[in-house]
Amino acid sequence: MNWLALVILGVIAFVLSGPVGMLGRRSGNGWHWVSAAVAVAGGMCGLVAAFAVLLGSPSESLTIPAAAPAMTVNLRIGPLSAFFLIPIFAIGSLSSIYGLGYWPQSRHPRNGRKLRLWYGLLIAGMALLTLCQNSIDFLVAWEMMALSTFFLILTEDQKSSARQAAWVYLVATHLGTLLLVALFAIFRVINGSFLLRPLVPDQVGLALQTVIFLLATVGFGLKAGIVPLHFWLPEAHANAPSHVSATLSGVTLKMGIFGILRVLTLLPARPPAWGIFLLGLGAVSAFLGVLWAIAQHDLKKLLAYHSVENIGIILMGLGLALVGQAEHHPIWIILGMAGCLLHVWNHGLFKSLLFLSAGSVIHGTGTRDIDQLGGLAKSMKITAAAFLLGALAICGLPPLNGFVSEFLIYLGLFHTMARLPILSLTAAILAMVGALAAACFTKAYGSVFLGTSRRVSHRAHESGPTLWIPMGLLAAGCVLIGIAPSLVLTPLIHATATWSGQPSPELASLVPVKTITILGVGLLAAFGAGWVGQRYFLRRDRTGITWGCGYIAPSSRMQYTASSLAQMLLRALGPLVRQRRCEPQISAVFAGTGQFETHADDPVLKDAVEPVWRRLRFMLAGGQGFQRGSIQNYIFYMLLTVLVLLAFTLPLAMLWNWLL
């Protein structure tokens, strides 16, 4: 069976899903269903093929020759690319189904078709990216993904917040692409071809390799949202439609991780300092990401900051694996890499689940402001259960999937005791991150779904099956990996072996997967039995109001708000959070009405990016004279650039030879 062809078929289906949907009327839903069906069919093709390769089918390559060498297309599917293809196709299909109920063409005649066109291109771009074997193709697929993301953030371009978010995103992504172009240019010069071949050890010095490594970390890190390169992420993910946010957070960020993994396979030297750097960067991202999440009032921005946290956890696993390679510790490699890769899947599952549940809340209530919601668990039972499951999973609590991947990373960190015990201190940071995540989701779930309803929730209604079926499938995935981690061992071993280039030791002997299964089932069984027993055992006297120390007319305004829930924690960790407070001024004895507000801004965006940006604009203002808006001028500039480049080529080549 030609699995690569099947994946390409899936990619084509996603590309076509947008245009197909354009055939119908502007306000009719019929062709929207056809479009979703095409996307799901493509997703199924891709999933079948990716699973086949991941479970042991040999890798396949395809070369489409062209006259110019730069135009040749080289594609290849191996276990590592298959590993990343699975969340792309799975979440791509589920989000397409979700879109039927969440963004129906009949209710969004203005932007529904645009949304589906760019969404299909986003999924196709990401899928192609995992297959590309030469740098030109890689950059084309990268830009396909990056630009469709831009248009997806701009879905509601009538909103100024969306335009602002898309603009910041565009600057960030182009900065990243610029670095990637530099990165691949270096490869082109060393290798003499656009093919992404591993460098030969004595061909390049360590200094140049470190330059390549840093370019990859920053260039791909801008996409992955590593602190401090995450500044574009929260606004962008909050302003896109929810099923798009689910894809952006759950899958697109991982393409940055994929890029770093891909470049690392091409570099022969992997000194321990790189691994320690990534491990530290991951710990900082995880900690600051979750801390900033707690300060948010916007449900989707809160979830977006949690993506920063989880990318940090993924990076910690990767850093550990990298140190293991440098120090020749196969156990560190397999545990770190398995934790990293499994967390890529797991985060894809539970973060998409959370974003889709948040979307259902927005669908039902029309707001994403946590402080206006409350008590939704009564009117939206399915959404509430789905969100709770996602919250338990993202906090790493047993018996769900988040626990399994964090378990792998913890275990790997404990194994560093033998040689580099200082690394294991990051386990304590990971523990604090877990506790902070639990605090954050206590706040999110407690304020949105529990208690009494606040301002807008009374008109909430449960969403239809097109919304909750994708949520249910994602939830099932979370439970399945959490209960039966033995299912994912084979994929993890294959993908890890591809990455490290050597057969990995038996993962099953390092990780007590059977015990995790037994304990998980035991936990669920005990809970189930207890729940049934409790129904018979508990004698309910009566239902009353919540005890308010004798006060008998409590209202929702007396409820603890999300902001007050987070306030103590934020005060304790104050200097790390950038919070603006607007407090009422009390001047008279009988004070009038006052308003108290807090706003949590992104520290990197407000204190670093924006001042630099303003200064840059000021400095570059003189350059506006060149922007005349006439095409002749621009062609002239291009010609001039080419001439200057030609003049520079010769000295540059000489400089290059000297560097080598």
Partner: protein, 305 residues
């Protein structure tokens, strides 16, 4: 056969002993105050009485409120089965069980705080906010203690590492690290089981609201389950602490079960003494105390690096 007896003994002790510790603490406090105090077994009577009662449930709550006591008991019980109570390995032990242990305790806490928010009361919300805040500082302290023990024993499994702590020679660097870890663990114990100087278990007045206020709306068996779960948490952490400080020898089973039980009583008396002799800290200083606990075990870890 011997292991079977040891395992059943552990399970029975884990299930039956916890309320007794609370009784000893209360007796100690009464002695310090010059009172006779409630009977030693009063907590058992209380629990039995609560189990027979009907429940009153707030109309604001959802199923989460009913599930929380159940999840608390189950998760603490399962975590307790991973800690060796006596000189034998715990009933459940495997590589990395310490991670499962810490996260099971976190699971119970997560549901308890959610149940508190489920009532929509601002008192209980306040308690939940404090509980999650302090957990953020006690969790790294606990993990640093675990790191010290993993480093000393060379194995990431609770039973093995707690039982090997007894092989450390008194006066060595390792024993100094263990002392630092024990101090840190004692602070974690006080914080996790809501004791003075972190929380005051006697009252739920608003200045001291943490654990007691979170269960303010629970009644009957639901309240009983919460009290039982938190007392079991006390037993588990006390046994954990004893393993760090006491030289137990797996060979001398009979003697060491005795030492262990005496040690549990001693820990309860010490907690009672701390409660009688100290005032509760101002809430804003509690994170500082827990950070100090982190530093203690952190320095312990650096000692044996």
């Amino acid at each position: 056969m011997k292991t079977l007896i040891a395992i059943s003994l552990q399970v029975v002790l884990l299930a039956l002993l916890p309320p007794l510790l609370l009784g000893i603490i209360n007796k100690t406090k009464a002695w310090f105050a010059g009172r006779r105090g409630p009977p030693l077994l009063q907590v058992y009577y209380d629990l039995l009485r609560l189990m027979k009662k009907n429940v009153v449930i707030s109309s604001t709550t959802t199923w989460v409120f009913l599930a929380a006591p159940l999840v608390s008991v189950i998760s603490v019980l399962l975590a307790g089965l991973m800690v060796p109570l006596g000189p034998m390995a715990a009933p459940i032990h495997f590589t990395g069980d310490l991670i499962m242990f810490a996260y099971l305790l976190a699971l119970g806490r997560f549901f308890t705080t959610l149940a508190a928010l489920d009532t929509g009361s601002s008192f209980e919300g306040m308690g939940a906010a404090r509980e999650v805040t302090f957990a953020c500082f006690s969790e790294p302290a606990l993990f640093l203690v675990l790191l010290v023990l993993v480093k000393l024993s060379g194995t990431p499994s609770l039973s093995a590492m707690l039982l090997s702590a007894s092989h450390v020679r008194i006066g060595s660097t390792a024993s100094a690290a263990l002392v630092l870890a024990a101090v840190s663990l004692f602070v974690v114990l006080l914080a996790e089981t809501s004791r003075i100087p972190v929380d005051d278990p006697n009252t739920h007045l608003e200045l001291t609201m943490i654990h007691e206020v979170m269960v303010l709306d629970n009644s009957g068996p639901l309240l009983g389950a919460q009290i039982y779960a938190s007392s079991m948490k006390l037993l588990i952490l006390a046994a954990f602490l004893l393993h760090v400080v006491l030289p137990l020898n797996p060979a001398l089973v009979g003697r060491d079960w005795g030492i262990m039980l005496a040690g549990l009583v001693a820990v309860a008396v010490i907690i009672g003494a701390v409660e009688s002799l100290m005032a509760r800290l101002q809430l804003r200083f509690v994170p500082t105390l827990l950070v100090a606990a982190c530093l203690f075990s952190g320095f312990g870890f650096l000692l044996i690096l």
